[in-house]
């Protein structure tokens, strides 16, 4: 069954085309990886699907409902949940409270909302920070907090904006394992990621964006073999073939949204 269906999505910012006629489907329980060079429109696509940006044209259907005009919070309540690349923690609140805020949207009482976060914190490996203020967390842990908050909402579809950015290679494996178990539990995942090996390992399907348009879609193997993809995004076929990050040697033109520093050339996850 198709859980998310995007049709003809277009968006311009002051005449600059960020998205042009983007269409794709995500079936229930699948993992879709979205890749593309910097400025390809990945972030805009995420925002248009999750509600932060109102598309100029096109529709977004989620679980059979047209959610195109729904505000963010309503989409989140329906189970269409996103995380941000730059974290949005509730600074002065404790880690527990941060997650409880999300849990209380689903919980029947405040007591239930306060009981829910522990299991989630345990899962993402934040249990020991439970009672600290979220402002005291290091960046990598904030990333986990963002994920914990999203999970507490019990999403059906999780849109992950570069969950691996800011993590050192050793930290990536556990997060990828976690994403795998989420899929096994029936959560559908759509993620934007620069760590190419992660995209290839995790995705059932890959969507390649360039200049706001879908230039290729298919299984990881199909996409990596597509000459347009190689030309537009990878530039260096060897990098792809080796299953490496894919940005060795082309940092100059592809760039990473804003965290080139954490791309580690030798890194398989």
């Amino acid at each position: 069954m198709t859980l998310l269906s995007v049709r003809g999505l277009s968006k311009s910012f002051r005449g600059v085309r960020a998205l042009h006629d983007v269409s794709f489907d995500v079936a229930d329980g699948r993992i879709l990886g979205i890749i593309g060079p910097n400025g390809a429109g990945k972030t805009t696509l995420f925002a248009a699907v999750s509600g932060g940006v109102a598309a100029d044209a096109g529709t977004v259907r989620f679980a059979g409902q047209d959610v195109t005009r729904w505000p963010d919070h309503r989409r989140a309540r329906a189970g269409l949940v996103r995380t941000f690349q730059l974290m949005r923690p509730f600074g002065a609140m404790t880690v527990l409270d941060n997650v409880a805020v999300a849990a209380q949207v689903r919980a029947s009482s405040r007591a239930a909302a306060l009981a829910a976060p522990d299991a989630v914190l345990d899962r993402v490996g934040l249990a020991r920070y439970r009672d600290q203020r979220s402002t005291e967390l290091p960046a990598a842990e904030l990333k986990r907090l963002e994920l914990a908050r999203a999970l507490a909402l019990r999403p059906r579809l999780l849109l992950l904006d570069e969950v691996l950015a800011g993590l050192v290679p050793a930290e990536r494996g556990p997060v990828l394992d976690l994403l795998g178990t989420l899929r096994d539990e029936g959560i559908t995942l759509v993620f934007v990621e620069h760590v190419m090996a992660a995209v290839m390992r995790l995705s059932d399907e890959v969507l390649v964006l360039d200049q706001g348009q879908v230039i290729a879609a298919g299984t990881p193997a199909e996409v990596t073999g597509d000459p347009r993809v190689v030309e537009a995004y990878l530039g260096d076929e060897a990098a792809l073939a080796s299953g490496d990050d894919g940005d060795d040697g082309n940092d100059g033109n592809d760039g990473n949204d804003d965290d080139a520093d954490d791309e580690d050339p030798e890194t398989p996850c």
Partner: protein, 319 residues
């Protein structure tokens, strides 16, 4: 700011207490009478509690919506007139009118936020400032048109002076103080212990993050503005028995509440209450130290000092 090491909360409270102690000694030296000083302290604290409640509403709105609400005082005046009408015409006990004025002001706050102010969310500070200032002026003038310029008052049949340490406090002021403290505690519990309160704090901390977890941010803005306005309304009713009710009576409270909010830390609800007590003391002791001046002089001196020395307020910015 970065030059000095940050003082712990305890140290800041100790400094504040030391300043108060020095001022008390000076006031005693100046007046030569213990009764004058204890009278000033008593009056200051009692009134300060009410300042605290008014400022809590204002700082809550600022902390969550990032709006400086210049209509706060005018809305407080609306509640005062509500109490005047219900007490003198319908014969209700003035304090019972709280059950009408606070919910009514809550409703007015909801209507203002959802009808007008929500439309300016995210626009420039100047726009929002002019809007709330305009609403305030409008309310004042409607009150002036409806009730005239003749001052009104509310009579409390059982008002009696109470004595403590040689000082005298009117029962109405004691009730206002206790009522303000009680409502402040209720507001605090609401924010800390309920789901709505948690959602409001989440919006204050990060609106984007709040939206992300399914919180309707605009609805929280409406609720917050309504809660803040209800605080002003409750304070209006509580002070009605001992102030002269005119269309501009709330203005003075509004100005003082701004000072309190800056002193307590913009957006800091608990800071607003403590700040209210301190400003109440400042006003009364200032009157003792500088007898020929307006009592507000000392308040503004404190205001300017805080802006220079500790612009983030005594307790920092947070909700």
């Amino acid at each position: 700011m970065t030059r000095r090491a940050p003082l712990s909360l305890a140290a800041r409270l100790a400094v504040a207490a030391a300043v108060v102690a020095v001022v008390l000694v000076l006031a005693y030296a100046r007046s030569g009478s213990g009764i004058v000083v204890s009278q000033a302290v008593l009056t200051g604290l009692l009134l300060g509690g009410v300042y605290g409640l008014v400022a809590m509403g204002l700082t809550l709105i600022f902390g969550v919506l990032d709006i400086v609400n210049f209509a706060h005082g005018a809305l407080m005046t609306v509640a005062m007139y509500g109490t005047v009408l219900l007490a003198s015409h319908a014969g209700l006990d003035p304090y019972l009118t709280l059950l009408v004025t606070a919910p009514a002001l809550f409703g007015i706050g909801m209507a203002l936020q959802s009808g007008l102010i929500n439309r300016t969310m995210g626009s420039s500070l100047a726009n929002q400032l002019l809007l709330t200032l305009g609403i305030g002026l409008l309310i004042e003038n409607v009150l002036l048109l409806s009730f005239g310029s003749e001052p009104r008052s509310v009579a409390v049949g059982y008002a009696a002076p109470l004595r403590a340490f040689g000082a005298v406090a009117d029962l109405t002021r004691v009730i206002a103080f206790l009522g303000a403290l009680g409502l402040a505690a209720l507001l605090y519990l609401l924010l800390q212990r309920t789901r709505v309160g948690t959602a409001i704090r989440a919006v204050a901390a990060n609106p984007d993050g709040a939206q992300l977890v399914g919180i309707d941010v605009r609805r929280m803005y409406v609720l917050t503005f309504a809660l803040g306005t209800a605080c002003a309304g409750a304070a209006g009713t509580l002070v009605a028995p001992f102030v002269t009710v005119e269309a501009t009576t709330g203005e003075l409270f509004n100005i003082i509440a701004f000072v309190v909010v800056v002193l307590g830390g913009m957006g800091n609800v608990v800071g607003a209450l403590v700040g209210g007590l301190l400003i109440g003391l400042t006003e009364q002791l200032g009157g003792v130290l500088l007898p020929e001046q307006s009592p507000l002089l000392a308040v503004f001196v404190v205001f300017v000092l805080v802006l220079f020395l500790r612009p983030q307020g005594l307790f920092g910015r947070s909700s």
